[in-house]
Amino acid sequence: MAIKTILCIEDDRLIGEMYVRSLRKAGYDVDWMISGNDGLVAARNKPYDLILLDVMLPERKGSDILKTLRSGNHDMIPNSKVLVLTNFEQDEESRMAMEHRADGYLIKADITPRKLLGIIEQLAK
């Protein structure tokens, strides 16, 4: 599955800007939302190939967004991949729930923009 459009939901401006800059440079079409509610609305309104989702977000947590988008048999984003990108260590239950609904769960501190590009390429295969 080719990945062209990416939605980045990230409230830390420095981190968001860093990833978005590299992704755009690599030719991806990137939208960036900084609050949980805006992120959810964007994800519902436009079919993105990939959603990069932070967990600790203002207004609405990433886990909640993911649950809303993908719960049980109801998948509002069947054609999107989701990568959870967080620096927050959740309790096991919440993390497992997110892992179950996402296509990857990564610690941001270990993911440089270059690594992220590699992971997205791998995901597209």
């Binding site: 420095l14 860093m18 590299s22 620096n87 959740q90 990857g104 501190a109 993911i111 791998q122 995901l123």
Partner: protein, 516 residues
Amino acid sequence: MAVKPKPQIKDFYKHHYRVSLAVVIVFQFISVCVLAGALVTAEILNHMEPLFWLLLILALVTGLLVNIIALGVIIEPMRAIAAALSYVAGEKSADRPPNPNTGRYAKDGTKNMLDLIYALTYEHDTGHTSAKIAPIDQPTILDLDNALAQTSSSVVIFNPKGDITYASAHAPVRTSPKGVKQLDLMFDSGDITFEYWLKDCAKDKIDNQKVWVRVHTDPNSTGEPRIYDIAASYSRGSETEVVLVIQDRTDQYLPDEKDLDFIAFAAHELRGPITVIRGYLDVFDEELEGKLTDEQKTLLGRLVVSANRLSTYVNNILNVSRYDKKHYQITLSEQRVFDIYDSVAHDMEMRAATLGRLLTVDIPHDLPTVAADPNSITEVLANLVDNAIKYSSEGGIITIKATLAGDFIEISVIDNGIGMPDSVVHNLFHKFYRSHRSREQVAGSGIGLYISKAIVESHGGTISVHSSEDKGSTFTFSLPIYKTVEQKLVSGDNGNNKGVINTKQNWISNHNMYRG
């Protein structure tokens, strides 16, 4: 052409005051001139005498002072009325609206006018013609009581004296030993507490609303702790002056509260800047390629290594915290030792090179695969290499090698540094242990080896050290060969490691904690 802004009511008073002041000053000058004319005409004094001028100046200053003070007193009601009108007109102003209950307004009669302005506005905004509520039939209240009891909402009503006059079934209200009902809440969220908000309202508000989220029950209360969202409404003079609508949100908020683990939060805060530092260093590394001198490359390398080590420390702290709480779990899968090392080879070589150590690696490609959690094992390697760097001197050689030993692969990190006496060796893997000598000479926290041991033992392996003073140390850890544990892993019959082998396609995970 610039558009002239709409005149504001609050500006009226300022303008009026300035005009009045100018009039007072002009009139004072005229009076003094008349006085001077009179003195000269009556030949009491003439303009050659200093006393003449002294008298005129005295008359001018006294006249000005007295008249300006009088002016302030005379137009004060106008100021109050203008300010009240400005406030109800919704104009933005740094000044508080006048409080009709201030003593002087009551005395000079301005109170009535201010009250009228506020009351008319209240009626206009709410459609209420009176602050009094219509009498409610008793059965209606009972019905409402029952209806509220079915929900997770509750209502608390205060009268103008501040007493609770109504509290529905699940309302967080307790009765004190003296029989006084009070809220059983701790307003620790939001900008102000309920009490301060009430004081603010009593000072200068006619009606007001406020919402608090995540308000906890008072920790001193005996009941089960709950978490609420609360909407408050204030209406001055009404029999139901303050109404609280309280929504019990414990079920929604409690799972989050479990996340509020201090170390997880601290790590989250630390990792933010680390993400940016490591990320942009990586961007620099790519974008500045070929443009840097050798010295600049070395300096950039030091930054990269330091950021990576910082990241290792944060992971160590998190892992120790989880391990101590018995939350630490790993995900074992089939791995090649060479691949695990290869994923961090660049980082390890840089760590050594930056501090002037030479790293040699001897990991044969054809070793059997092991059952390992690659991210955890790279942390063990990072800790052991950092240790070898710390306890050796510049120009030292650090060797990483892997060999087959029965059902295990043994991986050793060997340095030719200062080594340790036997007395130290057996304490080495204890938490926070630092030998007397290392405390004096080398900075460190003493958790790197502790968590490395925990990680290796979670894999079913062992970790040990051989050391001789002034010759160096060899740290060796073992990992089980995959074939020997495959049956256990696939059947899931391995206790700690539930769901060890992740078969989900395209699965990517680099999280360092809660493995499994």
